[in-house]
Amino acid sequence: MLVDGITCALIGAGLLFFWAGTAGIIRFPDTHSRLHALTKADNVGLGLLIVGLALQAPDWLTLGKLAMVWALTLVAAGTTAQLVARAAITKPAARRGPASTAAIPGDTVRSKDRAS
């Protein structure tokens, strides 16, 4: 019962971070501050969700899988954030409008302009 309460509190806190990150990506003015809001808030949010769920895990295997989900997401989020940030610096005009933050595979797919 107590564990359930802690899980609920942790997941609620995680959702709050997701909410803040989403607000940031909608409201912030440029790619880099949006990225900042998105990655910071979402990574913490996901971490809280995972810790909350880990308390409910029936065995160590599930715990390990949850930990791996978190670790892999952190690596992937960090990488994509780097790529998007680089794409935003090297070719600011590559995309029109607010969709620029979403150019995730930018470093590889869209980097035709950069001298090789």
């Binding site: 690596v75 990488t79 029109r96 979403a102 595979p105 470093d107 590889t108 980097s111």
Partner: protein
């Protein structure tokens, strides 16, 4: 989940699915539409989870959202290069379709009619137990414990065999779009990942995990959700990642080794089927050997599916577009 909360969750998920689909169709920016389409795929995967169809959820997340997303993003970026900028802008807007508003309304009414008719048909469908019981009764004879894998590789092995050949046919059709002078080139997106950069590091870090996950999904597919299609998709994604990170060039379409990898699965499948024909029925698996036979077929299929899917996403070899990192940026002399 208890009744009311579950229904609330389902209603919210339905709203999100429909909203994402609407955005994917109507949003002005083409790239934005593609992003909404990917989000839509993830929501649909959640819907499959709610229907307790976990095998389908895995497939939808990996193929419907993942690989189709890569394919579409690649297509948008290539289209930008192939068409002039202003024309692209014109094309991206919702005002570009030449349909008049009267035609639009007529289309809307027609589409709503078809959707409504299907909904009505669905609601009034007489209840039927379907084939669940038949599958459950014969599951013991199939050699595997996951009913979906039993259907895919044993009860309806024909469908899966022909599907793997359809995949191959699609790849041949795609390659046939290449012009003669481009034939033998490497297919795929242009890569400019910096050698020591983040993408290259990511491309080195993730493949071991991805490979493990892909093989695990195939192996566990005999008892739990998973299987050759889900595992093969993960392996295809790993291969694509390695190519995107600039660590390995895409293979030439004329490579013999590649050709063998593409046909290994269907060949193995047909071989097992013919062996079954000698013993009695084509594609019939004797219960005693069913599990090792299914795992053998799945191993071959996984290799072929991974190679075929990755090459389908890379597209036809195309000059000035499908250059591997080791090729000069010019057309071959004619």
């Amino acid at each position: 989940m208890s009744g009311l909360a579950a229904t609330g969750f389902d209603l919210m998920l339905c709203a999100l699915i429909l909203g994402a689909a609407l955005a994917a169709i109507a949003v002005r920016d083409l790239f934005g539409a593609v992003v909404f389409f990917i989000v839509y795929g993830v929501f649909v995967a959640l819907a499959w989870l709610r229907l307790e169809a976990i095998d389908v959820a895995l497939t939808e997340a990996a193929l419907g959202a993942g690989l189709t997303g890569v394919l579409m993003i690649g297509a948008v970026s290539r289209l930008e290069r192939l068409t002039s900028r202003d024309q692209d802008q014109d094309a991206a807007g919702p005002q570009s379709p030449p349909t008049s508003s009267a035609a639009r309304i007529a289309t809307m009414v027609g589409a709503a009619g078809i959707g409504g008719g299907l909904a009505w048909g669905f609601i009034t469908l007489p209840p039927s137990a379907g084939l669940q019981l038949a599958v459950a009764e014969n599951l013991a004879a199939s050699g595997v414990e996951n009913p979906v894998t039993a259907v895919l590789l044993n009860f309806r092995g024909w469908d899966t065999l022909l599907e793997s050949i359809v995949l191959l046919a699609a790849l041949i059709a795609l390659w046939s779009l290449a012009r003669d002078q481009d034939w033998g080139r490497r297919p795929g997106l242009r890569q400019h990942a910096r050698p020591g950069g983040v993408m290259a590091t990511f491309g080195r870090l993730l493949p071991p995990f991805g490979f493990l996950l892909g093989v695990y999904l195939v192996w566990t597919g005999s008892a739990q959700p998973g299987g050759a299609f889900q595992g093969g998709t993960v392996l295809a994604a790993v291969w694509l990642l390695v190519m995107m990170a600039g660590l390995k060039a895409a293979p030439r379409v004329s490579s013999t080794r590649l050709r063998w990898a593409l046909i290994a699965g269907p060949l193995l499948f047909i071989g097992v089927g013919l062996a079954g024909a000698v013993a009695g029925t084509f594609l019939g698996l004797p219960t005693a050997y069913a599990k090792p036979l299914i795992l053998t077929i799945e191993a071959g299929l996984t290799l072929s599916i991974a190679a075929t899917l990755a090459l389908l996403v890379l597209g036809a070899p195309m000059a000035g577009d499908g250059l591997g990192p080791d090729q000069p940026d010019k057309e071959p002399a004619r």
